[in-house]
């Protein structure tokens, strides 16, 4: 039996989602651009999903564009705003704790002559709305600030950010990849102009994302070719993926308050237990305003990969802010941004729950974790006991 607590990385597909998708793989295989029966069936399925996605965030179906990933949605939003509004200016505001899908895209735009302000965050990982207000200039064309952080779970003051953007007539994009199904999202109330999401983070399929674009916002194509997605996103539609996305978001949006309650109880139980039991540990991210399923804790004197490997050997799947596992030698930019030292950032563990996790699992995780950290510390030249 394995215990999977890395739901921020990806989630197990809901059986009901797979059930809706499979017929579109094996039976209804038409190309939605075709006018005959098979094509019309496929088209209908795509449009149904568009309605499901729209409903989940209180948008209109025509404001939803399907993509192949959350990353593509982020790239598209940022690059489209940059090119469509370059006549107004070339200044973009984002935060220092964004996902690389936004950060690296902004860095790319810097090379193309755009200017980017990376707002700092406080010790909990939140940008200051005052900072944002002060950073907006006449040539600011986009504010891209994530809804909730994937590493430390901190939820940004999205509503206030949206209001400041609206006041100043600046587009507001939010990467809501981690927030779908975890936070209530109403793009109207929150003044969101563009929003990215990806199905595999809420028990949907991999390879299916979406970008919400408020009607009236200029949108230039990112992937060019055929006239799919009203001429805005070319390529034969990934019909099964889109169908799965629709079903998954419908399920995710259904019972957010219950999910929040259940997951945050489990999370708080875990956090309290770890901080009590394991010395030299600290919680990263905001104690309250955080994703209900996310707990990110740093353990001094140890490096994360060894911890993950030993957890894995005990049947536990979790993630770390360690450089060694994330494909870069630098430790997490998010942990550094909230003020951790490099060596602290290297030894952190992110546990992210879904509704199938239990207290018994948490008990087991914490027991094993305590042993593993003890063992690694005894091996560490940084730890003097």
């Amino acid at each position: 039996m394995r215990i999977y607590v890395d739901n921020a990385a990806t989630t197990k597909m809901n059986a009901a989602v797979a059930e809706e998708m499979i017929p579109f793989m094996t039976e209804f295989y038409g190309n939605p651009s075709s006018i005959y029966l098979e094509g019309r069936e496929a088209k209908r399925a795509v449009e149904k999903s568009r309605e499901q996605v729209a409903k989940a965030i209180s948008a209109e179906p025509k404001e939803i564009y399907f993509t192949g990933s959350g990353t593509e949605a982020d790239n598209w939003a940022v690059r489209s705003a940059a090119s469509a509004y370059s006549n107004k200016g070339k200044h973009i505001i984002t935060s220092s704790v964004e996902h690389h899908a936004v950060l690296h895209t902004c860095q790319d735009l810097e090379k193309q002559g755009y200017e980017v302000t990376y707002l700092p965050v406080d010790e909990y990982g939140r940008v200051s709305v005052e900072d944002l207000r002060n950073s907006i200039r006449p040539d600011t064309i986009l504010v891209s600030i994530m809804f909730a952080n994937n590493e430390i779970g901190t939820i940004m003051p999205v509503k206030e950010i949206g209001a400041v953007c609206r006041e100043n007539g600046v587009l507001f994009h939010t990467d809501a990849v981690q927030a779908i199904g975890m936070c209530e999202i109403n793009v109207e109330e929150l003044n969101i102009d563009m929003l990215s999401l990806t199905a595999h983070k809420f028990h949907g399929p991999k390879g299916a994302g979406a970008l919400y674009v408020r009607q009236g916002v200029k949108l230039t194509p990112f992937i060019t070719g055929g006239a799919q997605e009203r001429g805005k996103r070319a390529a034969t539609e990934n019909v099964p993926g889109i169908v799965g996305l629709g079903k998954a978001i419908e399920l995710a949006a259904e019972n957010i308050p219950e999910r929040q309650k259940k997951l945050s109880e489990l999370r708080d139980y875990y956090i309290e237990k770890v901080l009590n039991k394991i010395p030299y540990s600290r919680l990263n991210g905001h104690p309250k305003d955080r994703l209900p399923g996310n707990a990110n804790i740093s353990f001094q004197f140890i490096e994360g990969e060894g911890m993950l490997l030993r957890l894995d050997m005990k049947g536990i799947s979790a993630s770390s802010g360690s450089a060694c596992t994330s494909g870069s030698l630098d430790p997490s930019h998010v942990l550094l941004a909230i003020g951790l030292k490099h060596e602290e950032a290297h030894g952190s563990l992110r546990v992210s729950f879904d509704e199938t996790n239990t207290k018994e699992q948490v008990d087991y995780i914490v027991d094993e974790l305590a042993d593993i950290i003890e063992l690694l510390r005894n091996m560490s030249p940084l730890y003097e006991d």
Binding site: E305, G306, R310, A323, C324, T325, G327, L329, P381, L382
Partner: protein
């Protein structure tokens, strides 16, 4: 991604610890990079044989496994033999390392060098023939595979 040998040395690292009366101690790496290895040796002043060796490592699974393997490889060897230890030899002894982890084996090679340099210094010998660690393995800037959530 790791070979069985790597996983074995990671799970049951040999020679972990300190030697209170070590006569050669080296530490390389840098917490910024996420790797530090400290190595203790007890070298027979007459025979120049490394009679005992222990390590402590802050680092990834590969760093721990290469530390363990490197100590195994130098134990019982003379200084001259130990100086010939290469990171490739350590990696080979572990049945290979993933390309992105090859630099971790530098850490072990450099720690051995650092300990031997320490021994040379304590004995007033010329350390210039021992390649010195730069504090952070040169491969720190290599491109890595793997994504991000």
């Amino acid at each position: 991604m790791y070979s069985e040998k790597v996983m074995d040395h990671f799970s049951n690292p040999r020679n972990v610890g300190e030697i209170s009366d070590a006569n050669a101690v080296g530490q390389v790496g840098n917490p910024k990079c996420g790797d530090i290895m400290k190595i203790y040796m007890k070298i027979n002043d007459d025979t120049k044989v490394i009679e005992d060796v222990k390590f402590k490592t802050f680092g990834c699974g590969a760093a721990i496994a290469t530390s363990s393997m490197a100590t195994e490889l130098v134990k019982g060897k003379t200084i001259d033999e130990a100086l010939e230890l290469t990171n490739q030899a350590v990696a080979d002894a572990l049945d290979g390392l993933p390309p992105i982890k090859m630099h971790c084996s530098n850490l072990a090679e450099e720690a051995v060098h650092a300990a031997l340099a320490d021994y040379y210094e304590r004995h007033g010998m010329d350390t210039s023939e021992i390649p010195q660690c730069t504090g952070c393995c040169s491969s720190c800037s290599i491109e890595h595979e793997g994504g991000e959530d």
